[in-house]
């Protein structure tokens, strides 16, 4: 290991190019998320920060998927189509009567699940902290029966998906199938794309349940639950956006 003592022959190494040549290591450069470097075990807080950052980056591409679908909807809605019988251009966008009751119930389910997943997130964060306290010799904490918020969220999420399925059935009963009108095409498309993303979130939650049963370290569980919770909140917001879009553009 080389000691950190400059030889003195190169006091001022200024080319002015290549980005600030003479500054000492700056804290802004990041430390690679490797914590204090003293070998104090895995750096879970760095991993948590990194995974959250990855989630934000990933969500921006999810956003772009829905931005693209939205712009397609707006363009398609405004297009006239040639009517061969009358020889004129007409709008082929049929106004749908949405199964609003069902959709509102689903919205409520999803919002409640967003609350429960937030409680799960805070629960695991608290447990992770308490586990550190408990590791101090002589300290014991009273017995605790944690409420299975994660399990509740999974059930609520499944309820939402079933509810969406029922809404589809209702719409089909009213005669609106995928190819009936561009309005119904976009209804099925947007709800299905959202449901696929939600299913991904559910799978990660089931994974979180699995690793908790396998007794993986608490901080690892925490990371999984933390990012799933933020993802789930985003999905709830996204659903409200989609619902509003489908309502105002129906």
């Amino acid at each position: 290991m080389v000691t950190l003592s400059p030889t003195g022959t190169l006091q001022d190494l200024k080319t002015g190019l290549g980005g600030g040549s003479t500054r000492p290591p700056a804290p802004g450069g990041g430390d690679g998320g490797r914590g204090d470097g003293n070998g104090n075990g895995p750096d879970y807080s760095g991993r948590l920060r990194r995974t959250r950052l990855g989630l934000v980056v990933g969500l921006s591409s999810v956003t772009m998927i829905f931005v693209a679908l939205t712009s397609a909807l707006v363009v398609r809605r405004g297009l006239p189509t040639f009517d061969e019988r009358t020889g004129t251009y007409v709008r082929d966008w049929l106004t749908m009567s949405l199964p609003v009751g069902m959709l509102l119930v689903n919205t409520l389910l999803l919002l409640v699940s967003s609350v429960s997943v937030e409680l799960a997130r805070r629960q695991i964060a608290r447990r992770t902290l308490l586990a550190q306290v408990e590791s101090i010799p002589g300290v014991t904490l009273g017995p605790e029966r944690p409420i299975p918020w994660l399990g509740i969220t999974v059930i609520l999420g499944l309820g939402f998906l079933v509810g969406q399925w029922l809404a589809w059935q209702e719409l089909a009963a009213r005669g609106f199938y995928l190819a009936t009108s561009p309005s119904s095409s976009f209804f099925y498309l947007l709800t299905a794309t959202h449901a696929v993303h939600l299913t991904g979130g559910l799978l990660v939650m089931l994974y979180a349940v699995a690793i908790s049963l396998m007794r993986k370290p608490l901080p690892v569980q925490r990371i999984v639950i933390d990012i799933t919770a933020w993802y789930w909140h985003f999905m709830a917001l996204l659903w409200i956006y989609i619902f509003a879009l489908l309502w105002f553009m129906r």
């Binding site: 030889t7 490797r34 990194r50 950052l53 990933g58 040639f82």
Partner: protein
């Protein structure tokens, strides 16, 4: 200490081996070379996937060139080339080259291998995601190539997949299962690229070594970062567009298909707009051009500075120019659609924005030239390709402002002029970036040097060859030769152009032959090349401080500390003509 032979004084601090959710070095063959989590192995996997793809794509281009001048020739392996066969070859050539070569090699290949090392990280932020990203790309390639072998063969709608040709099963041979496979492949590729982009961005933002500020990152890292951001925002849109296309094709929706009659039969669709596909496609498609070329720009900057033994001219300007190109790249997609029907006001706006890209492009070009000015240049093979990159970038770039003007685009659209333009700037220039990167980083990747003599021969044949192929195409385009036509030997007005077309085909043949020199050199040098030192080019960036090839965690249990910008060459008063980024000498704070 893991510092290299030419590494100067290097400070390393102990690194926590579990810090980044790290994995231990794998031992079994499968985990080490097939389902590896190591970004270096994944980078090589991407590279060899692209190498396979490029030879497939190149073979297809040769078939097209042969067919153009000998339209009745019956070729071994493919037989007679009918007009629809020609279009299938054309579609697959474009798709393979754009996605599986130009997107895969510079970003997936070199980006994966060298981005973590250049910022001093032990691996990518999410190694499992990285592995998934590669294998999804691999499956996408297999699905695409499978389109050749299904009933009806490969699709014929071109790499741009314009509806309604791409949206109707009855539109032509290859538009049944072949087209579905094509869309599936593209969708898989989008998913893989999104995973990759996420990883690149998170890694660059969060895993930089101490002292590696943003403005000390090598320009290659900047290019990979901006490319990843472009991919992150563009591929989601293509994915959405592809899903709509699949629905139109298979479930009877009418997003893209208007009331249309095919062979006297009214299709069930009505009211859709082919323009909607074009807008969505080109919103992806134009950033994709920069996804292909930006890593090449990064490599060119790195190589020009290293071999000119001078700091890159205007580092900050280079960074801002990359950003400027990236941002403008999202605002110009309409210039692909001047002829598709567009309000003249929109066309004007798109035209102005497109011309504006000339500004950051010129900044980059002049900075590259400024770097070369008054330099004692070392003309080694990587440098030759870097200079070749600049040459091709200028040659291909200059025809851009022509096509950016609607009034000039009207006659030039869909002619060989466009083919010349995008092949020079997006195809060959990016390929030169890949070649430069290969010759430059080969010693780090394989521990041996590539053969210099064969490298030079490869360079001169490729440079002169590609100019001979693509320069005359500008003239063909201005003379009115349309692109995508399988035969024009029967068209009277194009008769005088046949000799020039024949010349291009011969030039293509020679250029393609020269690529086998490269292939031979690559594999020969892997086993028989001269042993490389840790820093054979006397370069300054972090990959040259570590062992050759780098250990599993890149820096052998250490993590580098960075003190300088990436291009400190010929610093007055320094003992050597280069100062490593990790060299603490000259730090005045102590």
């Amino acid at each position: 200490m893991a510092g290299g032979a030419g590494g100067g004084e290097t400070i390393m601090v102990a690194q926590d081996p579990h810090g980044h959710g790290a994995h231990a070095a794998p031992t079994g063959f499968i985990r080490k070379y097939v389902f590896s989590l190591d970004h270096k192995v994944i980078g090589l996997q991407y590279y060899f996937l692209a190498l396979t793809a490029v030879f497939v794509g190149m073979f297809l281009s040769l078939l097209m060139r042969i067919h153009m001048i000998w339209p009745t020739a019956v070729l071994p392996l493919v037989g007679e080339i009918k007009p629809e066969t020609y279009l299938q070859i054309l579609t697959m050539h474009g798709t393979i080259m754009v996605f599986f070569v130009l997107t895969t090699a510079p970003q997936g290949g070199f980006g994966n291998y060298f981005l973590p090392i250049q910022i001093g990280a032990p691996d990518m932020a999410f190694p499992v995601l990285n592995m998934l990203s590669f294998w999804t790309t691999f499956v996408a390639f297999v699905v695409l190539v499978a389109a050749f072998f299904v009933t009806g063969g490969a699709p014929l709608h071109g790499w741009t997949g314009y509806a309604p040709l791409s949206a109707l099963q009855s539109a032509g041979p290859g538009e049944q299962l072949g087209a579905d496979l094509w869309i599936t492949s593209i969708a898989l590729f989008c998913v893989a690229s999104l995973m990759g982009a996420l990883n690149f961005i998170t890694t660059t933002l969060d895993l930089r070594a101490k002292g590696m500020t943003l403005m000390r990152m090598p320009l290659t890292v900047w290019a990979w970062l901006i490319t990843a951001i472009l991919g992150l925002l563009a591929f989601g849109v293509l994915l959405s567009a592809g899903i709509l296309l699949l629905l139109d094709r298979n479930l009877g929706t009418s997003f893209y298909v208007p009331l249309v009659v095919v062979n006297g039969q009214v299709m069930g669709h009505k009211g859709g707009s082919p323009l909607l596909w074009q807008h969505l496609f080109w919103f992806f498609g134009h950033p994709e051009v920069y996804i292909a070329i930006l890593p090449g720009m990064g490599v060119a900057s790195q190589l020009l500075s290293t071999f000119a033994r001078k700091p890159i001219f205007g580092y900050r300007a280079m960074v801002y120019a990359i950003m400027g190109i990236g941002i403008l790249g999202f605002m110009v997609w309409g210039h692909h659609m001047f002829m598709s029907g567009m309000s003249p006001y929109s066309a004007f706006a798109f035209s102005v924005m497109t011309m504006a890209i000339g500004v950051p492009s010129a900044i980059k070009t002049f900075n590259w030239l400024g770097t070369l000015l008054h330099a004692r240049i070392r003309f080694q093979t990587p440098m030759l390709f870097a200079i070749g990159f600049v040459s091709l970038f200028v040659s291909g770039g200059l025809s851009g402002p022509f096509l950016a003007q609607p009034v000039l685009d009207i006659p030039l659209h869909d002619t060989a002029f466009v083919v010349a333009h995008f092949h020079l700037i997006m195809g060959v220039a990016a390929i030169f970036g890949i070649f430069g990167a290969t010759y430059y980083w080969f010693p780090k990747m394989f521990g041996r040097m590539m053969n210099e003599g064969w490298g030079r021969i490869h360079f001169f044949f490729t440079l002169i060859g590609t100019y001979c192929v693509f320069m005359p195409m500008h003239y063909l385009g201005m003379a009115g030769q349309p692109r995508r036509y399988s035969q024009f030997t029967e068209l009277n007005y194009l008769h005088p152009l046949i000799p020039l077309n024949t010349f291009i085909t011969y030039a293509a043949f020679v250029t393609i032959t020269a690529q086998f020199i490269f292939l031979f050199n690559l594999f020969w040098s892997m086993f028989k090349g001269e042993k490389a030192s840790d820093n054979p080019w006397q370069a300054t960036t972090l990959e040259w401080t570590t062992a050759t090839p780098p250990p599993h965690d890149n820096f052998g249990g250490q993590t580098p500390v960075v003190y300088h910008g990436p291009y400190e060459y010929s610093v007055p008063g320094a003992p050597k003509d280069y100062v490593m980024q990790t060299d603490p000498a000259g730090v005045t704070a102590h």
